[in-house]
Amino acid sequence: MAEVQLTGVSKRFGRDIGVEGLTMTVGDGAFVVLLGPTGAGKTTTLRLISGLEKADAGEIRIGGQPVTHLTPSQRDVAMVFQQYSLYPHLTVRENLAFPLRSPILKTPEDEIARKVAEIAEVLRIPHKLDNKATALSGGEMQRVSIGRALVRDPQVYLMDEPLSSLDAKLRSDLRIELKRIQADLGATLLYVTHDQIEAMTMATQIGVLDNGRLVQFGTPREIYENPVSLYVASRLGLPRINTLPADMFAGAPPGAATMGLRPEHIEQGAGKPSQITRVEHLGDQTRLHLTLDGHDIITLTDPHTPLKGGESIAIQPRDALYFDAAGARIA
């Protein structure tokens, strides 16, 4: 396993920015999650590291070696694509063995059989090994394509929303399994997701991308609790962070334009009275939809709350985040 270093990497597609001046170090054995909306450059970053795209500028090093001019196969990376990843003319077994049979690895057949069986067990598909790849369900296909990366022992694993097409149960099982495998192997893993739980539970670090630029890089805790901007703050948190005018409550620092208030950072029972518009019982938690001076606010409350829509409740902020007019964090 190896460290991945990107220095000032830029890539444009015509006039569109892919990534711009991206500098980031993914430590040896780190599990880095890339966050950002569609078009922020997450997938482009993975493709640049894998060698499927050539950077316009900047340098990429894997394990200290510059790889900018190497072909994908020479870079020794494994990648799980978001879609279309299985070879439809091969069986599951052949798909899993495909990377091992490559001219670069040339694994002996008994070793291939052993590794394929092992991975099939982990991904719970041993009974499907002789099926055609096209005869699988979406979830099974995705598991096989994860398996095709895991049979190898590459310098880096790159995964582009590998769990997004799975159902909730399988997703949480595989999430734990992936994290376990990564920790066991000490693998360096770069992972793209939209899923907050995946990002928070699996990552050692999170990189937040905005329009091709890395805007913050840190541990999940840092990103969640100490975001550098409103943009970063709204990437994590479910329900999303509430954004309110900074002067709505007392205590705003000078220059603050917006106040970011996470749902769990709203104290109930004191402060300004607000109107309850809706109460959502989700089982393990209950969400209160409030309006205060024409602004919608979402907060959490006791699962067995007696509160009902139409009632009124007093609220006040705790640990609010303050941002200036451009969205940068002030306090």
Binding site: T71, P72, S73, M79, F81, Y87, P88, H89, R148
Partner: protein, 313 residues
């Protein structure tokens, strides 16, 4: 009638469709059946009027196709030892003896060499070109593709004279190589266009996955793209073979001896021993077989191939 389904047409429609299909099949197959039948008739039965549907089968047409024969006097015929083979007997019955084999066999072999040779070359070059057009940034790609297609915008025979002169200069007249190159040149535009469509349909992600899995681009092409393009390659091969196999005009013009294919040869049978229709029909029947076998062999792919535009998502 109780159930109603949008996807399942009513029984009456299916029945009508069935009748139409069967009628169409009869219309298209009848000439073929007639040719095959004529091959097994005697010359007299072949031209009898009204036409004979039921007749006593004879192999005379096939014997005549593969032999040249000489008429000898009755006395000379009587003086010969009894015929040793069944085909000699058939010929003797007509008051003739076998003078030697005909040239049908070698013409047929020429057709096989030239037809399959040019098909292989067209598909081979076409696949490589189509892959390049589909995957790489080729300068002026659209213009080049249009140029390639434009070679089919006039009948190839329109350039027969320049080609004739060119072939004479290059020493390609009446050679297998010359005919293979000529048919390849005509077929390649079809091959490039058809195959480009098929290769465009194969998502790039498969090759990208293979590149990352440790394969070079050529290996990814060979191991991932080619197997998935099998449908397109098979149907393109059939179209190319059918053209090269049936081509008549250039074959008449450019071949006479060594490289003559079967199509210009079959009509010459008519002139040899009177209008020997059973021999012509026998020659045509045998000539149909290779393309038929080739098509049946690739049928599974062909059906998917020619409907690809219709069933595509």
């Amino acid at each position: 009638m109780s159930s109603y389904s949008i996807t399942e047409p009513p029984a009456r429609h299916k029945w009508i469709a069935g009748v139409l299909v069967v009628t169409y099949a009869i219309i298209t197959l009848l000439p073929l059946v007639w040719i095959v039948a004529t091959g097994f008739k005697t010359p007299a039965d072949a031209i009898s009027y009204p036409p004979k549907v039921l007749f006593e089968p004879s192999l005379e047409g096939y014997v005549n196709l593969f032999t040249t024969r000489t008429r000898i006097g009755d006395e000379a015929l009587a003086a010969l030892p009894p015929p040793e083979t069944w085909y000699e007997e058939i010929v003797r019955d007509r008051g003739m003896v076998i003078a030697g084999p005909s040239r049908y066999g070698e013409r047929f072999l020429n057709s096989v060499i030239i037809g399959f040779g040019s098909t292989f070359l067209s598909v081979f070059l076409g696949t490589l070109a189509a892959y390049a057009f589909s995957r790489f940034r080729v300068p002026l790609a659209d213009d080049l593709l249009f140029f390639i297609l434009s070679t089919r915008m006039m009948p190839p025979i329109a350039v027969a004279i320049p080609i004739f002169l060119m072939f004479r200069q290059l020493g390609l007249s009446d050679t297998h190589l010359g005919m293979i190159l000529l048919y390849t040149a005509v077929n390649i535009s079809l091959a490039v266009w058809l195959l480009k469509g098929f290769i465009d349909e194969i998502p790039r992600e498969y090759e990208e996955a293979a590149l990352i899995d440790g394969y070079t681009r050529f290996q990814a092409f060979y191991k991932v793209v080619l197997p998935q393009a099998a449908t397109g390659i098979a149907s393109t091969a059939i179209f190319c073979l059918i053209f090269a196999w049936n081509e008549y005009a250039f074959a008449v013009l450019l071949t006479s001896g060594t490289a003559q294919t079967a199509p210009p040869f079959i009509p010459t049978i008519i002139g040899v021993g009177g209008q020997d229709w059973p021999a012509v029909a026998a020659g045509a029947t045998l000539f149909l077989l290779p393309v038929m076998i080739f098509t049946i062999f690739l049928r599974k792919h062909l059906l998917r191939g020619i409907t690809f535009g219709a069933v595509r998502k």
